[in-house]
């Protein structure tokens, strides 16, 4: 074997070993293993502070450190997508083993601060799970966060003073313990999807990515 061929064979062997170490570590779910929509490139965890339903500041990045965090932008008068997402996540968290469920935080930021007072948001979230975090901020603050996550701003639909809908991003963003989002869950995500993915998201070691 010539020196060049020997070097090439060694390089190929090393590459094979490196690849197999990376893949057989089982650290992070392989593409296609998750039921959610895997992002082409991970999204850094947003760094913002809004007000929680107790009226206290909630620094999202720090408060959710070390948890799988499901971030959703919705509103309590939403007739369809928001309550379905919240109900499905809550139902699955109740069924998961406590050691898995306790490592998941659900945060909903209201896109309708005019109607969603902290009290109203708290009451609405309590109907699903009292542990769900509700955050309020000004429209500008919330739209800024949406933009930072490459999501469209929320849009008021309808002319009514109190009777209107909000057009908003329908996906739940799942931030993992590496403070990045690798996967999002669009409208239409079912309980079986959450039940399948949440344990994987909790157990995965994303540092190997």
């Amino acid at each position: 074997m010539t020196p060049i061929l020997r070097k090439a064979a060694l390089a190929a062997a090393l590459a094979t070993v490196a690849l197999s170490v990376a893949s057989c570590g089982g650290d992070s779910p392989r593409p296609g293993e998750l039921h959610g929509a895997v992002l082409p490139a991970p999204l850094p965890k947003a760094d913002f502070t809004l007000t929680n339903t107790a009226g206290e500041p909630f620094a999202f990045r720090e408060e959710t450190q070390g948890y799988v965090t499901l971030l959703f932008f919705g509103y309590t008068s939403c007739p369809d997508i928001c309550p379905v997402h919240m109900a499905n996540i809550a139902a699955v968290l109740r069924k998961l083993p406590p050691q898995t469920a306790s490592r998941v935080k659900v945060v909903m930021v209201t896109v309708d601060p005019e109607r969603d007072t902290p009290e109203r948001l708290r009451t609405w979230l309590n109907a699903f799970d009292p542990s769900f975090v509700g955050l309020t901020g000004s429209t500008e603050e919330v739209n800024g966060i949406l933009r930072s996550l490459m999501l469209p701003p929320a849009v008021k639909q309808g002319e009514g003073e109190t009777d209107y809908l909000m057009g908003h991003a329908a996906q739940v963003i799942a931030f993992t313990t590496d403070d990045r989002a690798h996967v999002v869950y669009p409208s239409g995500t079912r309980q079986v999807d959450w039940a399948h993915d949440l344990p994987l998201l909790v157990e995965a070691d994303w540092r190997s990515e």
Binding site: P79, D80, P83, V84, N88, A91, R190, Q191, A195
Partner: protein, 270 residues
């Protein structure tokens, strides 16, 4: 304009909606019956339709109307699986016996007079065929892929509803079919037929009641009504399927048993 109830993406509202297809079906059933009684009429040897028969037929059409029209129809099509199950029971366990009981024998004979109709009636009157038709329809129309696939389409929902009605008619013909020329089952045979049909509905009922997660996407992802979760709704559906369906079947079997007993007593006394 919607002509038949199907799943919608909009939030449920207690606002009446017209469903023209349901009205046309109900109207055609009423007009057809009235025309048959008036124009065709019984032969000289046949008794005319009794008040009881007419009342039974009208009740059957009324129950069908309730099952297919607003609010039961749209709630069943796209919002609550419990209402979907109740609708299934109305279409298969309530409407068919009322319609069959409401048909005078001479009218049934007229209907199967064409040779092809007679052949079809004789084929469907066989207990094993009736058992298979009813249970295959029951199982097939409760498969998630079928429920989710048909719910969003008016034509699909119509097809499923009519399939239920057809399966119910075939099923109840074994129990109530009055024509001797189609060789009806004896009382014990009818009771056995009913009891055998208790077991297979247990399969979808068990899935509905004991599944960890909602099995139908259409109901799980429907805009929620607010007072019942998808899981509770599904469990309620399973209970309705098992308990109400079982009650109808066991209740009918009990009535048949009582009639059989009375007839035997009379025959012995004679």
């Amino acid at each position: 304009m919607t002509w038949w109830c199907s799943a919608q993406d909009t939030a449920w509202e207690w606002v009446w909606q017209p469903y023209i297809g349901v009205w046309l079906l109900v109207a055609s059933m009423l007009l057809g019956y009235a025309a048959a009684l008036k124009r065709l009429g019984p032969a000289e040897a046949d008794p005319p339709a009794t008040r009881r028969e007419v009342t039974s037929y009208l009740l059957g059409v009324l129950v069908l109307w309730i099952a297919a029209d607003w609010p039961v129809g749209p709630l069943a099509a796209g919002y609550l699986v419990s209402v979907h199950t109740a609708q299934f029971l109305l279409f298969t366990m309530a409407v068919p016996p009322l319609l069959i009981h409401g048909m005078p024998q001479w009218l049934l004979r007229r209907m199967i007079r064409p040779s092809w109709a007679g052949r079809v009636a004789r084929f469907l009157s066989r207990p094993l065929i009736a058992f298979a038709v009813f249970n295959v329809v029951l199982l097939a129309t409760h498969l998630p892929v079928v429920v989710d696939g048909l719910a969003g389409s008016q034509l699909g929902s119509f097809f499923k509803d009519m399939l239920w009605l057809f399966a119910g008619l075939v099923f109840w013909w074994q129990v109530l079919g009055p024509l001797p020329e189609l060789q009806p089952l004896s009382y014990p045979g009818r009771i056995l037929f009913l009891l055998l049909n208790v077991f297979i509905p247990t399969v979808p009922a068990a899935f509905l009641t004991f599944a960890d997660y909602p099995i139908y996407a259409v109901y799980e992802l429907a805009p929620p009504l607010g007072w019942i979760s998808a899981r509770d709704d599904q469990q309620l559906a399973g209970i309705i399927m098992k308990i109400v369906g079982g009650f109808i079947i066991f209740g009918t079997a009990s009535v048949l048993f009582f009639r059989w007993y009375v007839r035997e007593e009379r025959e012995e006394a004679a």
